[in-house]
Symmetry: C2
Subunit: 335 residues, 2 copies
């Protein structure tokens, strides 16, 4: 057990802009002892997500901020080493909030047992995890796409975006992805079956969007905010739905967030913009997971993980999310 | 018949910022002759509305812009002088798109007969006209207030806002109005029964809103955009609805419209922002008009008109809408 110590990344300071190395403290503590009802897990994989940037900020949000000195919050997959919870046995695989560390003692009620026979473990942090659930409920419940409609998604090669586009296709919509670089764009069209992909680094997004959405955008699933949100707002169809899932372009701003100048397109087009937080759908995760596992088995829903090894790389690996560098769900392999 | 000439205000130039006197041309033409299916009306009252500013701009919107050289579009109330439409007789009162002029020859299919016994004529441009319909459908269909919820409305002493707040009270909500100046604020509370009014010219809107909406804002009916929209967004309750009806603070911008920086509050609060255009509800105007006439008769729905006399005052009178100067529905008395 690594000499019985647990290495942990703790939040040392609230970042201004992109998190710096000095915003983190790497600590070594003795292995935690699980109390009654808890489970001690070896952390195997951690999910790195843009939302983590928001958790580092002070202030009211949909979830409490991580406190200074606390282990950084992260979802992960682990293997049970000691169980003091009747629902789990040694060697079970679990997913839940494990934190950026090598070992975690967690209340069993906060964990879900997963079946590694269903899919490789990292997939439980992707399509069968929070990103998959976010895509599923955000698109279907909030976006309410109808067959034949045009669905546009930004950060389309990311964990959420790739699943949004594929579910749009399953629901008989046209799926248009916006992503950065030719490799990601080819992947969306050739591997995932998107109808088209727009390379925001190389193309005039306004023009390409107009060419690809001649009847306007019926559903826009927004992961990025900023300029791209404004461009899509200007091309909404009547009664369009904009799903506000994130705004990764704005998370490291040191100035106030830039609001969408074209928001009056909502008025002109009788459209709506609606926010969603995946945790609200927790009671429906099992049903969604079963449906998505079925799509995976049928070859209709593919996933791709970008796996980086080593807990110690965490501060740098996290930054890949904000440079547009990662391709697929970013996962940190801890053990 | 004024020597049988028809004075008309035509759009001479597309305004930059506030419309100037030179953006208008006052022309005198012979009285129009109604063709088959048309009706010749004497224009009695014209409705002056913030939306008119948008109609003067080039470019796609929910309605075509007024062309350069064309008579300015305006809704109004008139009396039939000559009828070549079987639905109307001489001396009938009608409402519809009459334009900023003394006489109008209009397709009868575009006019509605009104009953002057029901209410004074200017009320048909207010509570029983477009502003009333906008308030009714915007609040009830888009805002969907539930009893006990808190409804906030901006430009609350304006034609739409005053009706929004009163309908909110009829629907057993708390109604909070934002308006400029003590006279308007007193009017909202003392005359119209709002629970509170916030004077944006004298108060810290952020603080007053927090004091008046301790559980957050469930429905925000936005007529103004700009800073006030941002302040309210920051105080939304879970699953709030923001009705985007207008953005009078932004209509005369010479720089791009400022988008709402706090739009990510939609995400945090799982809230939605939705646009509405009253014309979409045209088939339900009669039902809404009957219901609102009933509320007026029962003393539950009051209206106030700010009536300015004289067609020639039109360019200056219109500006009252953007200075916050008008108090109640702004109406131009033409004859």
């Amino acid at each position: 057990m690594s000499g019985d110590i647990n290495r942990q990344f703790r939040l040392a300071a609230r970042p201004v802009g992109l998190p710096k190395r000095t915003d983190w403290q790497l600590t070594s503590t003795p292995l935690p002892q699980p109390r009654d009802g808890e489970v001690l897990c070896r952390v195997l994989y951690l999910s790195l997500d843009p939302a983590m940037r928001g958790w580092m900020n002070e202030g009211k949000s949909y979830i409490a901020p991580v406190g200074i000195g606390e282990v950084m919050r992260a979802g992960g997959v682990g293997r049970v080493m000691v169980s003091k919870h009747p629902g789990f046995a040694v060697s079970d695989h679990v997913s839940g909030g494990l934190g950026v560390q090598e070992y975690a003692a967690v209340d069993g009620a906060q964990l879900v047992k997963i079946d590694p026979a269903l899919a490789p473990l990292p997939v439980f942090l992707n399509t069968l995890g929070m990103p998959g659930m976010t895509a599923y409920f955000g698109l279907l419940d909030v976006g309410q796409p109808k067959p034949g409609e045009t669905v546009v998604v930004s950060a389309a090669a990311g964990a959420v975006g790739a699943t949004v586009g594929q579910i749009a296709k399953i629901k008989e919509c046209r799926a248009i992805g916006i992503a950065g670089g030719p490799a990601k764009c080819r992947y969306l069209v050739d591997e995932l079956g998107f109808d088209a992909a727009i390379d925001y680094k190389a193309e005039d997004v306004r023009k390409s969007l107009r060419a690809n959405c001649p009847n306007g955008v019926n559903v826009y699933f927004d992961n990025v905010g900023g300029d791209i949100l404004d461009i899509v707002l200007a091309q909404l169809a009547r009664r369009a739905r904009v799903v506000v899932c994130g705004a990764v372009s704005q998370y490291n701003n040191t100035t106030p967030i830039r609001g969408p100048s074209n928001y009056l397109s909502l008025l002109v087009n009788r459209a709506r913009m609606e926010g969603m937080v995946v945790f609200d759908y927790a009671d429906r995760y099992p049903q969604a997971g079963r449906e998505m596992a079925g799509w995976i088995a049928a070859g209709k829903l593919k996933s791709r993980e970008d796996i980086v090894e080593g807990l110690q790389t965490f501060p740098d690996t996290l930054l890949k999310l904000f440079s547009g560098e990662n391709f697929g769900k970013l996962v940190l392999k801890v053990a």
